[in-house]
């Protein structure tokens, strides 16, 4: 016959075992996904060929010989126009930053679940709508480094397209150009009497001749920037006229904005 002590010790052991047994829970479960997905990829072409950086091999419509060093820009408020309605891409992210020096930024795997539908076009804002262009909202690079100086209106650059061109009459000495777009200024007297600001973002609409997104399908939307178009349609942009720095030149930035209408093209790739 067991002593009381033994009985108690047995009970203690049972108790410990119960605690330990109680620690084994159901394994984690996953939810099912019944919508489609999209991802954007970004390409940069010039004259129909992939853009080659840092080489003085291009000539624009104005006759400037130039090279491109880097392109950095934001797109926001991306919309898909479908038969069942318009899908605004903003569940997780409503602004995307593209940087030709950062390969990962040229691919955007979209979090939003996309309703299976037939879609006929994609649009986005190049830059930001004014209410989203908020100073200091980015605290980490690389987006942080796109800041637009406060005294020029604040917020962020929509685009930095940096390069060099060969000025007329020069044979080898290139000059850097900062083909930048952001918030413009209205001057009472240049350069220090600013009376107002002008938002230069613009909408890009890309008819895609119809594409379908099915449940559990991922569609790649390839967006291509055709760099030469920044400099020619409808305004022929001459670096010899506008120089290397246009952040305080609303006339130049207005040209950039208007030339932007046909810079982008779209292609749909299905898995």
């Amino acid at each position: 016959m067991l002593s009381y002590r033994a009985v108690y010790l047995t009970k203690i052991s049972l108790f410990v075992l119960l605690i330990i047994a109680g620690c084994k829970d159901d394994p984690p479960e996953e939810t099912e996904q019944k919508s489609g997905r999209i991802e954007f990829t970004f390409q940069h072409f010039l004259n129909g060929q992939p853009l080659q950086f840092d080489t003085l091999r291009y000539v624009n419509e104005a006759g400037n010989k130039y090279m491109v060093n880097e392109i950095q820009y934001f797109i926001s408020d991306v919309k898909l126009f479908g038969k069942k309605g318009i899908k605004l891409i903003d569940d997780w992210k409503d602004i995307h930053y593209v940087d030709t020096d950062i390969p990962d930024s040229r691919r955007w795997e979209v979090y939003d679940k996309i309703t299976p539908d037939e879609y006929d076009s994609v649009s986005f804002t190049f830059g930001f709508a004014p209410d989203k262009n908020i100073s200091f909202m980015y605290v980490n690079p690389p987006e942080k480094d796109m800041f637009w100086p406060e005294f020029l209106g604040g917020g962020y650059h929509y685009m930095k397209l940096n390069g060099k061109w060969l000025p007329a009459g020069q044979t080898s000495q290139t000059i850097p150009f900062d083909f930048h777009l952001g918030r413009g200024q209205v001057y009472y007297s240049y350069p220090d009497s600013i009376t107002g600001f002008i938002d230069n973002q613009f909408n890009v609409s890309l008819p895609a001749s119809g594409f379908t997104i099915l449940a559990d399908e991922t569609v790649e939307i390839q967006i291509t920037m055709n760099v030469e178009n920044w400099f020619k349609d409808p305004h022929i942009y001459d670096h010899d006229i506008y120089g290397g720095y246009i952040m305080q030149n609303q006339e130049a930035m207005e040209m950039v904005k208007q030339n932007g209408h046909n810079v982008f093209t779209i292609q749909i790739n299905k898995e």
Binding site: I12, F15, I19, D91, I95, D104, S105, M137
Partner: protein, 786 residues
């Protein structure tokens, strides 16, 4: 839950009624001559009973209720002595006590037996751990949170060299109720908890730390997971004329750490005065790999206490303390604490033995003021943005309680009031854009919480059953000026309306516990309760600061629901004269409306802090569960050499959470729901083995400690929490009572210079590497008293 209740009932029903008191007797002899000593005062503190030894040095207490007791032996001409022991029901304990002749009369040489971290307070039906001044001194501890981590199922969040934030059984932050001297609250200034309440109290001022694990002690407020009571007031000063002077000096090798503390106390039957002062200066420590950790700090504190006894059994106690921390480095946070100025004042009025029915009356008012300043001046990224945050936090409160002796038990009724105010801002200087105005961001905007509490506790006993019932109602209201993130041109970009920023909750907390002494050796206790806490300042009102263990800016939600803990504890105690004392506790906790953070899309709110991954907002995540156990064993107090063993484990899960799937850039590209995911920051299984050997009649006691901690692989998937490896770390120490003036203690921590880190240590900012614990460190602590 059903299984637990069934199990509890099984134990309760299966036990029989036996005797419930024991006998303590003993003989006291002179340590040098072995002669019997007559007229030795023998006192059992907790029972308030005492006796004197007869001519044969013999004493006896009959009918001592079963339980654990501290017995004091004192006699003029001898060093007083304290002994802890456990009395089982119907058990007779016979002690043989040696007293060391006093070198100089009326000078104390107190030799305590509590080397083994073992405190069972039998009347409590839950786990109650206390840390005495003696043990704190022996360990050469730098900080209360750091020291408390040496106990089972208490861990801490380390972000720097000091001010470690205690975690009890996986409960942390506002889930713990930390109070000073039975009720004073301290709101730390730092949103990142650089300065938890324990960090504002100087460890060398501590007389005792009392920890009640579980939601069971509601007397001083609601602690969901534990109540931690930091006691600095003198409770046993003589009422005849006296003057005492204490001083200590500590040096710790690895940190080049120096600590000094002085105290002078004097008084007579009308009252007493006590003045204390302390200073700590520690450099950076090296971890076990020899890497220097930016962990230096400097602290200074001074305090004065005035006690007046206007009438017999009346005491008015006035207390004022000021503490200054300077250049306290936190490598796991984006900023360092540049300045901390803390002022603690309080007034207590206590009346003992009021009458036959009213046993005592206690009144208290207090004010705690914290000014906290932190910046990133010495961080690499300060080359683009210098940020300075200054926060003011204030607690003002009071409480009154009356103790009734009802014959069948004791009733305590109390009412308390607390007002917390917090305001602070972060100033950013953008170095890359010179000429820009300073950007100012609110962290709190005149946030305020007012809590009114009403409490009652009944402790009774009936035929060997001891039980208690307590309840507490809290009426909690909170508000703040508008939470706005300002933009210099566009104005407000995030705001709660005036209506939604205010909240008011009425919370009911209650619990009950019962203890049954099964036989002369064995007792079982069952406790169950529900505690409800309102969200704290940070959870309600913080405005975008990285305050979690993960690198996210956190945003408060003023409309959070209160969090509730429903818990049951079963505790077994077994005491044997040769085998020693055992305690085994198991607990199960179901937390409703668990408060934690969830990611906000950058489309909703982008972070404002550098190097963070995004923004998380506090929310009520549904049910979370914590369960675990702790085991203690120690040889009987009079066994020499002595051994103790502790083991503890906590397992925490969240019923449902969402894991966001990230790409290589940390961008969210998908999500999935996870059921029963691990809770974050739960310490792994650990076990500690202690040895001591009393030599030279207890004047010289070497100790050795071995602590083994398992790896923690049960980590949160949804929060991408990293697992941590296990480790074994050893330490050794000694205490030598040189004479009635001098005592020396010393030792070595991390004896084998292990490179290791605790699971709860935060990562060094901007890296994936945990903050390592200090490598081998020698310390010596010299005490002088007169």
């Amino acid at each position: 839950m059903k299984a637990w209740l069934s199990l509890s009932l099984f134990f309760v029903i299966s036990i029989g009624f036996t005797q419930n008191s024991g006998l303590i007797s003993g003989t006291i002899t002179d340590a040098d001559s072995s002669k019997f000593i007559p007229n030795v005062s023998v006192i059992i503190d907790s029972l308030k009973i005492g006796t004197l030894t007869n001519e044969s040095g013999y004493f006896e207490f009959k009918s001592v209720p079963a339980g654990s007791y501290q017995i004091r032996f004192s006699c003029i001409g001898y060093a007083p002595r304290v002994k802890q022991l456990y009395v089982g029901s119907g058990k007779s304990i016979e002690l043989t006590i040696d007293l060391i002749p006093q070198i100089e009369t009326l000078k104390e040489v107190v030799i305590e037996d509590s080397y083994l971290h073992f405190n069972i307070i039998s009347k409590m039906p839950y786990v109650n751990t206390s840390f005495s001044k003696f043990r704190i001194e022996q360990a050469g501890a730098r900080d209360i949170g750091d020291y408390m981590r040496t106990s089972q199922n208490i861990s801490g969040v380390r972000k720097g060299g000091t001010q470690i934030d205690p975690v009890v059984r996986g409960f942390k932050f506002s889930q713990l109720n930390v109070v000073l001297n039975n009720g004073q609250k301290i709101e730390g200034g730092c949103p990142n908890r650089m300065d938890p309440a324990t960090g504002h109290v100087e460890i060398d001022d501590i007389k005792e730390i009392n920890v009640v694990k579980g939601p069971y002690d509601l007397r001083y407020g609601v602690g969901l997971g534990a109540m931690i009571n930091l006691l600095t007031n003198e409770t046993d000063l003589p009422d005849s004329g006296f003057i005492k002077f204490n001083a200590s000096k500590l040096y710790e090798s690895n940190w080049n750490g120096n600590k000094e503390h002085v105290k002078i106390t004097g008084g007579n039957k009308w009252g007493f005065v006590s003045l204390t002062g302390g200073r700590q200066s520690y450099d950076n420590y090296d971890d076990g790999n020899g890497n220097e950790i930016n962990s230096s700090f400097d602290k200074l504190n001074y305090a004065g206490k005035l006690g007046l006894r206007p009438l017999k059994n009346h005491l008015l106690l006035l207390s004022a303390e000021e503490a200054r921390g300077r250049d306290i480095r936190f490598p796991a946070l984006p900023m360092d604490e540049r300045k901390d100025d803390t002022q603690l004042i309080s007034a207590d009025y206590k009346i003992q033995s009021v009458g036959e029915v009213i046993d005592f009356i206690n009144l208290k008012v207090y004010r705690s003021k914290v000014r906290h300043e932190m910046d990133n001046k010495y961080r690499p990224f300060s080359d683009t943005t210098v940020a300075i945050s200054i926060i003011h936090a204030e607690n003002t409160g009071g409480r009154g309680e009356i103790g009734f002796n009802l014959g069948i038990g004791e009733l305590i009724a109390a009412a308390d009031f607390e007002k917390i105010k917090k305001d602070g801002q972060r100033e950013k200087y953008m170095i890359l854009q010179p000429g820009l105005p300073v950007k100012i961001e609110n962290l709190w905007n005149n946030a305020e919480i007012i809590n009114r509490g009403f409490f009652a506790l009944f402790q009774g006993h009936h035929k060997g059953w001891e039980y208690n019932l307590s309840a507490r109602v809290d009426v909690n209201s909170a508000g703040s000026d508008a939470i706005i993130i300002l933009h210099p041109i566009l104005g407000e970009i995030y705001e709660f309306g005036t209506d939604s920023i205010e909240s008011r909750y009425t919370n009911l907390s209650f619990n009950g516990g019962i203890t049954r002494n099964l036989n002369e050796k064995f007792s079982v206790s069952l406790a169950a309760g529900r505690a409800v806490r309102s969200p704290d300042m940070t959870e309600r009102f913080i405005i975008l600061l990285p305050i979690g263990y993960d690198q996210f800016d956190y945003l408060g939600d003023p409309q959070l629901n209160p969090e509730a803990n429903n818990q049951v504890d079963i505790t077994f105690k077994y005491s044997h004269e040769r085998m020693g004392d055992f305690q085994l506790n198991g607990f199960y906790s179901l937390i409703n409306d668990f408060i934690t953070g969830r990611r906000l899309p950058p489309a909703v709110q982008k972070p404002l802090s550098k190097d963070v991954l995004g923004v998380k907002q506090f929310y009520n995540a549904g049910n979370a569960r914590l369960r675990g156990f702790e085991f203690s064993w120690a040889t009987a107090a009079d066994i020499n050499p002595g051994v103790s063993l502790f083991a503890s484990y906590t397992y925490g899960t969240l019923d449902k959470s969402i894991q966001y799937i990230l790409n290589d850039q940390g961008e969210v590209i998908d999500d999935k729901t996870i059921y029963n995911d691990a809770l974050t920051e739960i310490p792994p299984f650990e076990s500690t083995l202690n040895f001591y050997y009393r030599m030279l009649n207890g004047r010289f006691v070497p100790t050795f400690k071995l602590r083994a901690v398992a790896s923690q692989k049960h980590v949160s998937m949804s929060s991408y929490e990293a697992s941590t490896p296990g480790f074994v770390v050893a330490g050794a120490g000694f205490t030598y009572v040189i004479n009635s003036f001098f005592k020396i203690s010393g030792g070595v921590n991390n004896l084998f210079d292990q490179a290791y880190f605790e699971h709860l240590n935060r990562n060094i900012i901007g890296t994936k590497y945990s903050l390592y614990e200090p490598g081998r460190s020698f310390y010596v602590n010299l005490f002088f008293k007169i």
